[in-house]
C-alpha cells in the first residue's frame, strides 16, 4: 500500500483527507505543521507528500525546501486555497499544485498520476 503524508493545519480538513485517501486505498499519515512533517519524514518512508502553504510556523514552501535537502525523490503536491500561488515560482519545486476544492477528485487524480493507485 502506497504511503502518503498529509500536512494540513486545519483539523477538519486533515481528517477529511485522511479518511478520503484511505478510502481511495492509501495509507495516510496526517500532521498539522511542518516540524511534525519533517519528524515523520525522518522516521518513515513516504511515497508522496501533500502540503498546504499557509500554516503556523514554517510554511509549505519552507517545508519543501527542507524536504529537498533531505529527500529529493519523494513527489510533493501543494494543496492550497490560494489560486494565485500557482504562478509563484517557489511552488515550482513541487510536482503538482492543486487548488483546494470541495471535490477531492483532482487531488486524487494527481496522486494517481504521480504514484499510481
Amino acid at each position: 500500500m502506497k504511503k502518503i503524508l498529509v500536512v494540513e493545519d486545519e483539523k477538519a480538513l486533515c481528517l477529511l483527507y485522511e479518511e478520503e485517501l484511505q478510502r481511495a486505498g492509501y495509507a495516510v499519515t496526517a500532521v498539522s505543521d511542518a516540524d511534525a512533517a519533517l519528524e515523520e519524514i525522518g522516521k518513515g518512508s513516504f511515497d508522496l507528500i501533500i502540503t498546504d502553504i499557509r500554516m503556523p510556523g514554517k510554511n509549505g514552501i519552507e517545508l519543501i525546501t527542507h524536504i529537498m535537502g533531505l529527500r529529493k525523490d519523494i513527489p510533493i503536491i501543494i494543496n492550497s486555497a490560494y489560486q494565485s500561488h500557482k504562478e509563484d515560482f517557489m511552488t515550482w519545486a513541487a510536482d503538482a499544485y492543486v487548488v483546494k476544492s470541495s471535490s477531492l477528485d483532482e487531488l486524487k487524480l494527481k496522486i494517481k498520476e504521480l504514484i499510481g493507485e
Binding site: L16, A81, K100, S102, L104
Partner: protein, 451 residues
C-alpha cells in the same frame, strides 16, 4: 525684520496689472477643495472677469474619446448683461469665492445660458473637422487667432452660427503630449481686437488648465489603480478564508452522500463539523461586513470610565482574561472622551483580543487609562507576548494583514479608522519576544466627574 504674508489676497485691486490678477485668481483655485469642473470654471473666470485678462466670453471644449465636446461657455448673453456683470465683478471687496459663486450660478442656469447652447457642439477629431476651426487648434496643438471668420471656409459653419463673431482665439489644452481640450475666446460685445499681450496671457491660462486637467486625471487613474490593487488583495484573502470551510463542508457532505452509506456515529460527526464550519463562515461574513463598513459614526464626548468597565466586565473578556494575569489601572475621575462610544468599546475589545492572542497563557496583559493633559486621554493595552517584528510593523494597519492563523487582519485597520474619525492617535511600541504596547490618544474634555 521678518514679515509674514498670506498666500491668498483677500480681494481684487482694480489697479493691479492684468497678469497679477490672472495669476491671483487661478492660484487661489488650487487652495480650494473644488472639483475639476469648478476649477476649470475658475480658469474661464480668470479669462473673462473684467479685472483678469478681460475677454468677453470663454468657451471650453473637453476631449471625450476621439471627440471634442462643448462643455462650458462663460460670459454674458447680451450687451446689457455684460455691462451688469462687469460692474458686479469690479465692485471692491468682491472676492474669488463670490465670483466663482456668481459664475457657477450662471453656468448652471436653465435654458438660455450659453453653456446649454454649446453642448450640442461636438467635433470628431478626424481629418475633416481638423481642417476647420475651432477643432483644428486642438488637432495641431497650436494657438490660432482667427479673424474675418465669416468669410473664411476654414471655419466650421455651425460654430460660426452659434458664436456670431468675426474674431476669436483658439487655445488648445495640451499637457505631456496629450490633448485634453480647447478654450475659445472672443470679444463679442466690446469688439475690442485681441492683442498679442492677451494671446500670451490666454496661452498661459491654457497651459495651467491643461496641466491641471492632466494632474487631476492622473491622480484619479492612480486612485483607481490603488483601489483595484486593494480589491485584488482583498479578493485573494477572502478566497482563502472562504475556501477552507467550503472544502470541509463539501468534503464531509460528499461522505454523507456515499452510495454505501455511513454509520450513525459518522453521520453525527460530519453534521457537527459541517455545522461548525458554517458558523465559521458566518463569522467571516460578519467581520467583513462589520469592519469594512463604509461609514463611521460621528464622534461625541462621552464618559469613558463606564465604557471601559463594560468591556472589561464582558463575559468573553472575563473568560479569556482568566488565563492571564490581567492588570487594570484606571485613573479615578476620567474625563469625557471624543469618540463614538460603541466604536470605542470595539476598539478596546479588539486590542484586548490581540493582546491575548499574542501572549502565551500565564503572561501579563495590562490595561491603563489616564489623562495625558487637560485635553487628551490615553488608553493603553500592553502584553508580554511575542511582540511585533520590524517588517510586520509597517503593515500592522493594512487591511487583511495578519500574523494570526485564523485572523482576518481587520481589527487594527478598524481601530485606525476609528482613531482617524475622532482625530486621535495611535502609538505602537514593541520588542520581539518581549511584548507590545498599543497606546491610543483621544481628545478629551473635563466632563461629569463620575469615577
Amino acid at each position: 525684520m521678518i514679515e509674514k504674508y498670506s498666500f491668498l489676497t483677500a480681494d481684487f485691486q482694480k489697479d493691479a496689472p492684468k497678469e497679477m490678477m490672472l495669476l491671483s485668481i487661478i492660484s487661489q483655485s488650487f487652495f480650494q477643495p473644488f472639483s475639476l469642473e469648478d476649477n476649470l470654471l475658475v480658469i474661464l473666470t480668470a479669462l473673462t472677469s473684467g479685472s483678469g485678462v478681460g475677454f468677453n466670453r470663454a468657451m471650453l471644449f473637453l476631449k471625450d474619446g476621439d471627440r471634442l465636446r462643448g462643455e462650458m461657455w462663460l460670459g454674458p448673453s447680451t450687451p446689457e448683461e455684460a455691462g451688469y456683470i462687469w460692474e458686479v465683478l469690479s465692485t471692491p471687496g468682491i472676492g474669488y469665492v463670490e465670483i466663482i459663486e456668481h459664475n457657477r450660478a450662471l453656468v448652471s442656469k436653465d435654458e438660455n445660458t450659453l453653456s446649454r447652447r454649446m453642448k450640442n457642439l461636438v467635433f470628431t477629431l478626424d481629418e475633416k473637422t481638423c481642417a476647420q476651426f475651432p477643432a483644428r487648434a486642438a488637432c495641431h496643438r497650436e494657438i490660432y487667432l482667427v479673424r474675418e471668420a465669416s468669410n473664411d471656409p476654414q471655419v466650421d459653419p455651425r460654430f460660426l452660427a452659434l458664436v456670431q463673431v468675426d474674431e476669436f482665439l483658439c487655445i488648445p489644452l495640451v499637457a505631456q503630449d496629450e490633448v485634453f481640450g480647447e478654450i475659445v475666446l472672443d470679444n463679442a460685445f466690446t469688439r475690442v481686437p485681441i492683442s498679442p499681450g492677451d494671446i500670451k496671457l490666454a496661452g498661459l491660462c491654457g497651459l495651467i488648465a491643461s496641466n491641471y486637467i492632466y494632474s487631476t486625471t492622473l491622480h484619479k487613474r492612480l486612485l483607481d489603480a490603488e483601489k483595484m490593487a486593494a480589491m485584488g488583495e482583498m479578493a485573494m484573502f477572502v478566497t482563502h478564508q472562504l475556501r477552507n470551510p467550503l472544502v470541509t463542508i463539501g468534503g464531509f457532505t460528499d461522505q454523507l452522500l456515499l452510495p454505501e452509506g455511513v454509520s450513525d456515529e459518522k453521520r453525527e460527526r460530519n453534521l457537527r463539523i459541517i455545522h461548525d464550519e458554517i458558523a465559521r463562515l458566518e463569522g467571516i461574513v460578519y467581520q467583513m461586513g462589520h469592519f469594512l463598513k463604509v461609514s463611521m459614526k460621528e464622534p461625541v464626548y462621552f464618559d469613558v470610565a463606564p465604557a471601559i468597565e463594560a468591556v472589561l466586565r464582558s463575559p468573553e473578556v472575563q473568560a479569556r482574561g482568566r488565563e492571564y494575569s490581567l492588570t487594570v489601572k484606571i485613573e479615578p475621575c476620567l474625563p469625557q472622551v471624543l469618540c463614538d462610544p460603541t466604536s470605542f468599546g470595539e476598539v478596546l475589545r479588539n486590542l484586548l483580543h490581540n493582546a491575548f492572542d499574542a501572549t502565551p497563557p500565564g503572561g501579563t496583559v495590562s490595561v491603563r487609562a489616564y489623562r495625558k493633559n487637560s485635553t487628551s486621554f490615553v488608553l493603553s493595552v500592553g502584553d508580554t507576548g511575542k511582540g511585533i517584528s520590524n517588517p510586520d510593523k509597517g503593515q500592522l494597519f493594512q487591511p487583511f494583514f495578519t500574523t494570526k492563523e485564523k485572523g482576518m487582519g481587520l481589527g487594527l485597520p478598524f481601530i485606525k479608522r476609528v482613531m482617524d474619525t475622532c482625530g486621535g492617535q495611535i502609538q505602537v511600541r514593541s520588542r520581539v519576544g518581549k511584548g507590545a504596547l498599543f497606546k491610543l490618544i483621544f481628545q478629551s474634555r473635563e466632563g461629569s466627574q463620575r469615577s
